[in-house]
Amino acid sequence: MESSKNSEYMTLAELKVNQIAVIVKLLVQGLTRRRLLDLGLLPGTEVKAMLKSPLGTPTAYEIRGSVFALRPEDASKIVIDLLHEDRED
């Protein structure tokens, strides 16, 4: 998928619409970390990229049954494991 990227890990910011991933860890401390945790973005949580803004950012993700939009600079703090692509539609 993103194999051309030679970074060791993939972040939520790289997740494409309809792709599903599982959260591995958060790379940020302080208030931002708290905010992300409060949304339920804990290691082990599944997320799906749902929508992309017409201007390119932010991206909306389905997290524990609700849809939240995150800006790429915040989403890039979340390390993920790509699971699969949802091709139902």
């Binding site: 208030l31 931002t32 992300l36 339920g40 804990l42 049954g65 849809v67 939009a69 800006r71």
Partner: protein, 708 residues
């Protein structure tokens, strides 16, 4: 305690995640018995209302919607402080049935602070549509508190909710809220510390919570312990606590032990607590939620894909906005005419009456031509467009379309170095800038909050829409053939709105690159499910909350302003009225920016309320020229034209209206919110400078093109 002492029998706090229909529950319970009150913790204004049941008076406090009570951001602190220091008798947590697990996160946190909790399981109809059924008994059993399913916007389940509130408040039902399981290491530390905390605080249900907060080093909690705010209500006589120094020794001892113990915990305490809560929430939810069917297609996702699409996302936004304006402009014309005709007929009757009674000329002038006429104007010009515009806007709001707008335009705010929530505060500003400024509290970074406060004025508010609509009707629409005139007028309105938005971006960007330098901070935007607007709520919000309030304010200000204008127009010094003197003095500046002296004078008189700009202009023109009653738009048009008004004046007036400066109420709100004279003054000077520059450029370039 009895009603007379406190003014109510029970104090109820309403908590919940954002977008759970919390305010719908609040409105459904309290109806019209609402006002904004001040509550302890911080001087924060919260919506407050009351309701009566079986002879008992319940006071209801609507707390800000939050996902958590842990993070130290303004909204969370307000909610949390009220639960801690406000001593509510019952806390009602409104929960979205479609995402129970996420909502239980907050419920479990509330349990840590309060014992007397009722869970209001709202939106059960929406959940059913999504194939989700919730086993209420199971949930109630696992949580240890009453759970009441409701559909607040259809008034379903509310009687049961009131019943449950009553039972918990009167302690006829006992509650035993579940406390989430902490991991062993943390719970050992907490157990060791609890006795010390208890010694200082007294016997309270939230000992464990206070202990974990102390372990995290939260300064607000330490302060609250020091000044006695966290004592059990029995010892709530603050004077005695502050004077009582024995506590000080105990506190010092406690803080020392806490600091020692905190170092024993491995890893982040916050991470572990949040994880524990979510693990518990997951377990509870999985037992209570029964998935009856998985809906074949997710309609929300389909709609979202269209309204945020790269190709049609923005066109849809523009078309919707245009549609709202078009319906308003077309629909407001006829009732406006009738209202004006009726009200000015009444003015004739008043004049006749005054003359019949032999009232002196000045009294007739002051009361009839001053006060009454400006009131009549405000009502006939403003009421019809507001009565159409606000319901339409409320429908868009209730549908859940506004977060999609925020999603679409977020990149512009990011470019401006502003917080993403500023799109929401801007939308609030379209209703009322003072409300918009207050809503900026939800932005936790002080830098970004100031930017949002300082630029909120660029969102044209209630008070300004009528001016904009009237100008487009009189000068833009009439310049085009009848068939397309209202369409052109709506395009013009969209254009003016976009100018306001554009200025918001530009000035925000300017501020974050100069006076308020910095990057935009963390931002999350929830995109809630689309909801069918509830008819009665739309009517309620748009008429009572918006139309009537705005009209009332306009009328209250229009009456004295009318008197002032009449006096200015009819006090002669050396053959010229005071109004003419003032207008003449302002005229050179006015003409430079495409306006005139009277318009500028009107803007000065209208500082208390933008609503009276047009009536003031009309009276200024009438006072200095022909005395007619502008019964129809055509006559009004003629009146304006006879004073040199043309399309350039109209465009500049519209631009000036969108840009100029906040009304006095908003300015006062900005001062209250920022507590800074510097920023309050800048919040007026920045837009005024922008208004002068833009109007000057537009007026001069249009004139050099031979227009106007």
């Amino acid at each position: 305690m009895d009603t007379t002492e406190k003014g109510y029998d029970y104090l109820i706090a309403l908590a919940g995640n954002p977008n759970t229909g919390k305010s719908t529950v609040f409105n459904a319970l309290t109806g019209l018995r609402q006002h904004v009150g001040n509550w302890p913790g911080k001087t924060v204004e919260r919506a407050e209302g009351s309701f009566k049941d079986k002879g008992q008076l319940y006071r209801l406090i609507d707390l800000p919607g939050t996902y958590s009570l842990l993070a130290t951001a303004t909204d969370e602190e307000i909610a949390r402080n009220f639960l801690l220091f406000g001593h509510p008798d019952v806390v009602v947590v409104v929960v979205d049935s479609t995402s129970l697990e996420r909502n239980l996160n907050l419920v479990l946190q509330v349990f840590e602070i309060s014992n007397h909790v009722v869970v209001c399981l709202n939106l059960v109809d929406e959940a059913a549509r999504k194939g989700i059924k919730i086993d209420v008994d199971q949930l109630s059993h696992d949580l240890g508190v009453p759970v009441v399913p409701t559909v607040a916007n259809a008034d379903k389940g509310l009687n049961d909710l009131v019943e449950a509130i009553h039972e918990v408040a009167s302690e006829t039902t006992s509650t035993d809220p579940r406390h989430f399981a902490l991991n062993r290491e943390i719970s050992e530390v907490v157990n060791e510390l609890s006795p010390y905390v208890k010694k200082v605080m007294g016997e309270l249900p939230n000992i464990r919570w206070v202990t974990t907060r102390l372990l995290e080093g939260e300064t607000t909690i330490r302060k609250a312990l020091e000044n006695g705010e966290l004592m059990s209500p029995l010892s709530l006589n603050k004077d005695t606590i502050v004077k009582n120094n024995t506590n000080k020794v105990e506190l010092e001892k406690l803080f020392n032990i806490v600091d020692n113990e905190a170092s024993r915990i491995h890893g982040s305490l916050y991470d572990q607590i949040v994880t524990s809560i979510f693990v518990d929430a997951e377990t509870i939810a999985s037992k209570a939620v029964i998935i009856t069917e998985i809906p074949k297609r997710n309609l929300d996702a389909k709609i979202d894909r269209i309204v945020t699409s790269r190709i049609v996302g923005f066109p849809i936004m523009i078309v919707l906005l245009m549609g709202v304006f078009w319906i308003t402009i077309v629909g407001a014309n006829i009732p406006s005419k009738f209202l004006a005709a009726g009200l000015f007929w009444l003015e004739d009757q008043f004049t006749t009456l005054f003359r019949f009674l032999g009232a002196p000329y000045w009294l007739e002038g002051l009361v009839v031509h001053g006060v009454y006429r400006s009131l009549a104007w405000v009502v006939s010009v403003m009421l019809p467009p507001m009565a159409i515009f606000f319901p339409l806007f409320t429908i868009l709001e209730d549908l859940g379309y506004l977060p999609r707008v925020a999603f679409n335009v977020d990149r512009c705010f990011k470019w401006a170095g502003a917080h993403g929530k500023q799109s929401i505060t801007m939308c609030m500003g379209f209703g009322c800038n003072a409300a918009g400024v207050i809503s900026c509290r939800s932005i936790s970074s002080p830098r970004e909050r100031l930017i949002a406060v300082l630029t909120n004025n660029f969102a044209p508010c209630n008070g300004r829409w009528p001016t904009l609509i009237l100008m487009t009707n009189l000068f833009i629409a009439t310049a085009f053939p009848q068939a397309v005139s209202s369409m052109v007028a709506s395009i013009m309105m969209v254009a003016v709105t976009l100018v306001g938005m554009l200025m918001t971006f530009i000035i925000s960007a300017f501020l974050s690159r100069t006076l308020l330098r910095g990057e935009s901070s963390f931002f999350v935007l929830e995109m809630p499910s689309y909801r069918r607007p509830n008819f009665s709520r739309v009517i309620y919000t748009s008429f009572i909350d918006r139309t009537i309030k705005v009209l009332y304010r306009a009328v209250v200000w229009a009456a004295p302003a009318g008197a002032v204008i009449w006096i200015l127009g009819n006090s002669y010094v050396g053959g010229e009225s005071l109004m003419a003197y003032a207008a003449n003095a302002l005229s050179p500046i006015g003409l430079l920016i495409g306006l005139d002296g009277i318009i500028l004078l009107a803007y000065i008189i209208a500082i208390p309320a933008n609503e009276i700009v047009i009536p003031t202009i009309i009276m200024g023109y009438m006072g200095t020229g022909i005395i007619t009653q502008p019964e129809s738009l055509a006559q009004l048009h003629a009146l304006f034209v006879s004073h040199g008004f043309n399309i350039v004046t109209a465009i500049c007036l519209m631009l000036f209206s969108v840009l100029h400066y906040p009304c006095s109420t908003t300015t006062y709100t900005i001062w209250k919110e920022t507590k800074s004279a510097k920023w309050t003054i800048l919040s007026n000077i920045i837009p005024l400078t922008v208004a002068f520059i833009i109007c000057f450029i537009v007026a001069q370039s249009l004139r050099s093109l031979g227009i106007g």
